[in-house]
Amino acid sequence: MNWLRTHWKACQLALMRLAAAPLNTLLSVVGIGIALALPGAGQQLLAHVAALSQNAAATPQLTVFLNVDAERKTTQAIETRLKGLPEAGKTQLIAREDTLARMKKAEGLADVIAALPKNPFPDAIVVTPADDAPVTIESLATTVRQWREVEHVQVDADWARRLSALIRLAKTGVLLLATLLGIGLVTITFNTIRLQVLTRQTEVEVSRLLGATDAFIRRPFLWYGALLGLLGGCAGWLIVAGATLWLRLPVAELAQLYGFELMLALPSATDSALLLGAATLLGWLGAALSMRQHLR
């Protein structure tokens, strides 16, 4: 109970000190907020792109294109043969006539297609592998490519895998950025607390003479650092949320042009808690390091 009371008292004192210098507090909070918003926004963007790539990669498929001249009987035979392979799951035949009809409906292509002397599209069979392990898909593609009647095999999951690799790289970049800016936040708090201690030198000295322990002296400064970090975290969250809302519509429109549905969402509860928690912890750490140096 006494422990709780002393912390509550230190927290109140820290809040009063933050309120006593509103401009300094505001500048520090904005600085920390911007530093946190950069990796926060990066993480947010990556989470959306990763979700897209996972959705795409969740149903890897192979499209087997036959020779243009292949007869329907041959196509059906190939489909039957495909079904017999243990790596293949479901198959779906897309007849060349259906492809032609679909392309005729496509905007801007109707005239071009109509001008062609004959149907240029081959029959195609879309194969969903029995499992989505890359080895299975590669093995299936290699087998089918060797068949004489097959002109081309396209592994539809390839681009998703490349995107996943890019996302992994970007995640490392965001982590690196977060680490660097985290160190920046600790440095900002360290310096702010150092200045606080310097301006409160008399208070520290008098408290010591009156019998204050190091913990008693340190406590309000630690709260100050943690609260500054928390406020900075809130500012960072607001920046990320504001940017998300601002960019939501343009990003959705852009994604639609590429055939995706991408609607930016506000940071999840977990991500928000992580951002605020990390900011508070880093603020506290900066204060702790500063006090450690001062009280040594």
Partner: protein, 214 residues
């Protein structure tokens, strides 16, 4: 209660503040330390709460060698001592009441009880009506009385004061000295460094001259 045993205090390069001081102060005693400026009065007082450490010899308080106490033990020694400084060392951004509350907050007193005690201490020195005032709004004599209230609020067994009447006019100095005498009368050990010990009648006198007891 306090025993100075062949104390010496030197500052680099070659300044002797105190030399070969031996003295004992019993519990409940009123002692004045007198001497000219630079005689070593403040240094002698600072050795008791270990604000300064002796270069040689030992200072014992209730049998404990305070010079040998580690950093973590010092706060607990100081909580048994009331300190009044020549420059008062008040916190000018806090009210008179908040200044007096500080020693009780340090020792973790419950707020209600601490407030009751702080108000009682302010009442004792005649400052209860100025409890909400900032120290800057108080006169020199009031500031000194506020410093005394802060020094005694946690009911220490020993009260140390360094030139508490130095910058006060005669009447105010008399008034401030009277407060120390009152605390002595209720059993508190009082040790005062002063230039004018006529303000403390009945006190045992320790006279210092160039760092030596005479």
């Amino acid at each position: 209660m306090i025993k100075f045993n062949r104390i010496a205090k030197r500052y680099p390069p070659d300044i002797t503040a105190l030399a070969d001081i031996s003295a004992e102060i019993s519990a409940g005693e009123l002692v004045t330390v007198i001497g000219h400026s630079g005689a070593g009065k403040s240094t002698l007082l600072k050795l008791i709460p270990a604000i300064e450490r002796p270069t040689a010899g030992t200072v014992l308080m209730n049998g404990q060698n305070v010079g040998a106490l580690g950093r973590s033990a010092l706060p607990f020694l100081r909580r048994n001592i009331g300190l009044v400084f020549q420059d008062q060392k008040l916190l000018f951004d806090r009210s008179a009441l908040a200044n007096v509350l500080l020693p009780l907050e340090i020792t973790g007193f419950p707020h209600k009880e601490a407030r009751r005690r702080a108000e009682a201490a302010l009442d004792k020195v005649g400052l209860l009506a100025r409890a909400r005032a900032l120290p800057i709004a108080l006169s020199g004599g009031e500031q000194q009385r506020l410093a005394i209230a802060r020094a005694v609020v946690h009911r220490p067994s020993l009260l140390l004061a360094d030139e508490p009447t130095a910058y006060l006019d005669a009447d105010t100095a008399q008034n401030v000295a009277g407060i120390f005498l009152e605390f002595h009368r209720v059993g508190v050990t009082v040790m005062v460094a002063t230039y004018d010990d006529r303000l403390f009648p009945g006190a045992r006198r320790l006279r210092l001259d160039h760092g030596r007891l005479t």
